[in-house]
């Protein structure tokens, strides 16, 4: 009897810790989004992780049911498996984001070099010759390019 109560109370204790941790994760993510340190797009995955943690802690039999359903007889192992899967998905997500960013970065650098060359050419004594119809003219008045030729 005493043994059983101890087990229950320690289990409750662990659940309480998990609940607190899950709530904390959600709060930290919310705060980061509020301060605009984290974009909503990337916050969603982390919030999902926090919520899943909370659900597993509150819904007692879920982890056991789940782990038995997928054939894992030691429920904590299922938890580790899920955690690993989550990290894997997150990393792939980041790799995709980095690839997209570097591609956009490349396009920006190329466009900058092309515009700068055109601007310098226009300033360099060949006015109006190279300007195509669809280009705005405002660029000429901005003195932001310091490398003008004398």
């Amino acid at each position: 009897m005493i043994l059983a109560t101890n087990q229950i109370s320690s289990f409750l204790g662990q659940r309480l810790e998990v609940i607190i941790f899950g709530v904390l994760v959600c709060l930290v993510i919310f705060e980061l989004v509020r301060r605009k340190h984290l974009m909503e797009r990337y916050a969603l995955l982390w919030l999902a992780a926090g919520v899943i943690l909370l659900v597993l802690a509150l819904w007692r039999g879920l982890l056991t049911t789940f782990s038995h359903a997928v054939g894992i007889y030691y429920p904590p192992a299922a938890l580790f498996g899920l955690g690993f899967l989550f990290v894997l998905i997150l990393l792939i997500h980041f790799s995709i984001a980095i690839s997209r960013l570097s591609d956009q970065n490349k396009i920006l650098a190329q466009r900058l070099a092309l515009l700068q060359q055109r601007l310098e050419k226009d300033e360099g004594g060949q006015p109006d010759r190279e300007r195509s119809e669809d280009e705005p003219v405002e660029g000429e008045s901005t003195p932001s390019v310091s490398r003008g030729r004398g």
């Binding site: 490349k106 650098a109 190329q110 900058l112 070099a113 092309l114 700068q116 060359q117 050419k121």
Partner: protein, 248 residues
């Protein structure tokens, strides 16, 4: 303005850039020269301007693929009909530009001509180190298999394209080590290419883009890129169509 453009990618080539530009101006006077200064820190861009070339100054180092693509975008937007890549380090002898041009003009169905170090009848000249030649031979075999035509120098960056090639490369150009992939790109877009024998010299100054420690990475990366390029579900679409679509 002529309709021919020489694209000269240069990353810290202050020692060779002026000589390269002058050689192009002397050997292929009908070509305008565009130097793509890929984030140099040694004044390559200024030297190129002084030597009479147009210069695209990339704000930071993009690598050869991104730099070349910037050049092709320039060629596309300024209505050039022919573009030839000439390395800024003096490896490519501009006197062969006329040979490339002659071949491209002569064969109407041709979209790209590559200068090859390994084609008869020329011999001698610079042919890379022994270790690299093994890699070159491997890719030569692979690409010949893929494109069903003989490709002897898949890593040569000394190549000339017509307007359709310019439009294709302005729209889509491989990033890291573009030469091998560009051949596959031409093939998957149903553009035709051929090789012309040239002699190359060892680089005058500066460093190669590929150090020996990167060679293994190079092999694996390019191999992956070739396989992916072949498997990529690309609608058979003309390069000119894509360009027309974008300008709409």
């Amino acid at each position: 303005m002529s309709r021919h453009l020489a694209l000269v990618p240069a990353h810290n080539e202050a020692g060779a850039i002026a000589a390269t530009i002058e050689a192009i101006q002397a050997q292929a006077p009908q070509f305008d020269v565009l130097v793509i200064d890929d984030g140099s820190s040694d004044g390559t861009g200024e030297l190129a301007t002084a030597a009479g070339a147009e210069v695209l100054r990339l704000p930071f180092n993009l690598g050869i693929g991104g730099a070349m693509q910037a050049g092709y975008i320039y060629a596309e937007e300024n209505d050039y009909e022919i573009a030839v890549q000439v390395d800024g380090d003096g490896q490519h002898d501009p006197s062969f530009i006329s040979a490339l041009l002659e071949r491209l003009d002569h064969d109407a169905g041709l979209n790209m001509v590559t200068g090859s170090r390994f084609l008869a009848p020329v011999s001698g000249g610079y042919r890379s180190s022994a270790a690299r030649r093994v890699g070159i031979r491997f890719f030569s075999w692979l690409l010949s298999l893929v494109t069903r035509q003989r490709i002897t120098d898949p890593t040569s960056g000394f190549r000339m394209t017509d307007r359709r090639g310019i439009e294709l490369f302005a729209n889509d150009y491989p990033n890291d080590y573009p030469e091998v992939e560009a051949i596959v790109l031409m093939h998957t877009h149903r553009l035709r290419s051929a090789e012309v024998p040239v002699v190359m010299s060892p680089r005058l100054t500066g460093e190669s883009a590929i150090s020996s420690s990167q060679s293994v990475y190079y092999m694996i990366k390019v191999l992956l890129a070739v396989l992916v390029a072949l498997l990529r579900a690309r609608p058979v679409r003309e390069a000119a169509d894509a360009a027309a679509e974008r300008s709409r």
